[in-house]
């Protein structure tokens, strides 16, 4: 019996724009088990960003329930949600969002600074471990602006891993990268998935769904498809077929 990480039931989210009410989500329900690699797909305006914000505890639903690792997020106040983000979620953004003029190590350490559980030496140790996990053991003291896009995204992934979250939440994580680097990052995600991490990957790119274990497709605020992928493609194999750079 695997553990349920995410459970959403009949989720709706309305925005009031002027006099109009926009229904961004209209009754979304699904559950994600521990160890799944889920792609949430949808075109622009499908409500996937709204869903991502809610799953990431940045926003709360208008109605419906959201249980993250057994905790009811809808009833939480801002501070409590900040704690949940700090302890249970690892964010990865399209534009990396690293602190400039700051070393990789200091960037990765950031989430731990907002958690009083850790001492300075523990923080350094955990940050180092996370950077090794994403293959940046030789770039620890490099500044974020001295790195390539792929390296920066690896730092961002390390930062998402450092607090040992119950799930990684990636928002168009390969959107800013060239194809070659995209597949490198995707390979890393698959590796993390194989080591047991739960990953929710939000994208508008249909190609990427073939590399995950499950695909949820959103359209007009509703789930129109929720399918398990029995034939997961290997990103590293795809990478090998790509023309070599340099």
């Amino acid at each position: 019996m695997t553990k349920t990480i995410i459970e959403v039931r009949n989720l709706t989210r309305d925005f009031v724009v002027g006099d109009e009410v926009v229904h961004a989500l209209r009754g979304v329900s699904f559950a994600i088990e521990e160890g799944e690699f889920v792609t949430i797909m949808g075109t622009s305006g499908s409500g996937k960003s709204t869903l991502l914000n809610i799953l990431g505890c940045l926003d709360t639903p208008t109605s419906g329930d959201y249980l993250l690792d057994g905790l009811a997020v809808r009833e939480m106040n801002k501070n409590r949600r900040a704690e949940v983000r700090n302890n249970k979620i690892g964010f990865i953004f399209q534009s990396y969002n690293l602190l400039s003029r700051t070393t990789a190590l200091d960037n990765v350490e950031l989430p731990l600074l907002y958690n009083r559980k850790y001492t300075a030496s523990q923080r350094k140790e955990m940050a180092r471990k996370a950077l090794v996990e994403v293959g940046l053991e030789n770039r620890m003291t490099h500044f974020s602006n001295q790195m390539s896009g792929g390296q920066q995204q690896r730092v961002a992934i390390a930062r998402a891993l450092v607090n040992e979250p119950v799930m990684l939440l990636a928002d168009e994580a390969t959107g800013n990268l060239d194809t070659h680097t995209s597949f490198e990052i995707l390979t890393l995600f698959q590796k993390l998935h194989q080591s047991g991490k739960t990953i929710v990957f939000v994208t508008h790119n249909p190609e990427l769904s073939a590399y995950s274990s499950r695909t949820i497709v959103l359209r007009d605020g509703q789930v129109i498809e929720d399918s398990r992928n029995t034939h997961i493609k290997s990103a590293s194999e795809t990478l090998a077929t790509l023309p070599k750079i340099n």
Binding site: L58, A82, R85, N87, L99, T102, Y114, R116
Partner: protein
């Protein structure tokens, strides 16, 4: 949340924006620097005025007869006859707060020595006068009790007088001059004292026994005034009260409004003059304070720019678990650290410029502990006050909007 972490985060933000942080600090540095320097200059000038006045004898208490009315005509104070030798005797005997007391009678006229002559004033005093006025004998002696008793025709003269009527004589002791046909023998010469802070020549004096002026020259049975000196500056008030009490008793006065004498102490004069410099100091400090205010506004300005510029960073921090108060404190700590660091540098520069003014420009200036504490407090307050609003703005950002801010 460990608050040291926030401190660490804020410090790192300051260090990674060295140039901007320094320029922001500059406003505080200049503000505090000028406040400290102005206050130091004000304090220094106050002290130098005080020490100049002290040279004239800081503990001096002057006892004059009060201006009185005679048949509806207000009389000149020195014509009043209320201060009697008996008053002098009882003050001398009974007062415990005074160190020295002398009657003072003056007579002006021409001093003549052959072809040389000069107008001057004879001061009829006793030997306590030297103590009271902080005078020293350069050569010869002061007149003694016996010479006072016999109204001896002897004089101790100041340097200006010596130069005027005994030109070319290296030591006038033993020389004789005439004053209104009375021959006076010089028995001592005073050490030169120069002009005082009010421009009076303190060396243009002739000291003679008070009995000589009283009996031989003026032929009166009262004293024009008396001078005393309190044992210390702090006792000057007590001494004044003591003298008042004794004189009232001697003169049978019950109603203070009927006082036929007036007492003024140098202490009062000093505090009057000091209050003028105080006003000046406050004025200078206010002008400097304005630059401190401008510095504070500079901090607020930069913090606002910084919040806007770092919106994305704030969004990220919130996404990874920073609470509103963490963001608020981070920005508040940043602005306080900037202003306090600027303040400390300003204080150090203030000390430096006070030292330079004192030792190289020779303007007396003293940095007081109180102005350092004031500057430090103002810096911290400025940091909090001008940092609060931008910090609040940062903390109120919506993480979703912030993280997607371009």
């Amino acid at each position: 949340m460990n608050y040291w972490n926030l401190f660490y985060i804020a410090l790192r933000a300051i260090v990674s924006n060295k140039m901007r942080s320094f320029l922001t600090m500059l406003g505080m540095i200049i503000g505090v620097w000028s406040v400290i320097t102005m206050l130091a200059l004000g304090q220094g000038s106050k002290e130098s005025i005080r020490s100049q006045l002290s040279e004239m004898g800081s503990n001096i208490i002057m006892i004059h007869p009060n201006m009185g009315m005679m048949g509806g005509v207000r009389q000149n104070a020195s014509d009043q006859q209320s201060l009697k030798p008996a008053d002098y005797e009882s003050l001398k005997k009974e007062c415990v707060h005074i160190a020295a007391i002398t009657p003072q009678l003056t007579a002006s006229g021409q001093l003549i020595n052959g072809v040389n002559n000069a107008p001057s004033t004879l001061y009829g005093v006793n030997s306590d006068y030297l103590t009271i006025k902080c005078l020293r004998i350069k050569s010869g002696n002061m007149f003694n009790e016996h010479q006072i008793k016999v109204s001896a025709k002897v004089a101790v003269i100041g340097k200006t007088v010596a130069d005027n009527i005994f030109p070319g004589v290296t030591d006038p002791v033993g020389q004789v001059f005439r004053f209104k046909n009375i021959p006076m023998t010089v028995i001592g010469v005073l050490e030169a004292k120069g002009t005082n802070s009010m421009g009076q020549d303190q060396d243009d004096v002739v000291l003679v026994p008070y009995t000589t002026v009283q009996k031989r020259i003026l032929a009166i049975n009262y004293y024009q005034s008396m001078l005393a000196s309190a044992k210390s500056e702090s006792e000057s008030q007590a001494a004044t009260e003591e003298i008042t009490e004794i004189l009232r008793r001697n003169h049978h006065i019950t109603n203070p409004e009927d006082d036929d004498f007036s007492i003024r102490s140098m202490e009062e004069l000093i505090s009057t003059i000091s209050s003028t410099t105080n006003v000046l100091t406050i004025l200078l400090a206010c002008i400097a304070g304005i630059s401190l205010l401008v510095g504070g506004i500079g901090i607020m300005n930069i913090m606002f720019v910084s919040v806007t510029e770092r919106t994305k960073e704030i969004g990220l921090r919130m996404a990874v678990g920073a609470k509103e108060r963490h963001i608020l404190l981070q920005f508040l700590i940043e602005s306080v650290v900037i202003s306090v660091t600027g303040g400390v540098i300003g204080i150090l520069l203030g000390f430096l410029s006070a030292w330079v003014l004192t030792n190289l420009v020779h303007w007396n200036s003293t940095v007081q502990a109180s102005s350092v504490i004031l500057a430090f407090a103002v810096c911290t307050a400025t940091g909090v006050f001008f940092g609060w609003y931008p910090a609040k703005k940062a903390a109120r950002l919506d993480p979703i909007d912030a993280i997607h801010y371009e």
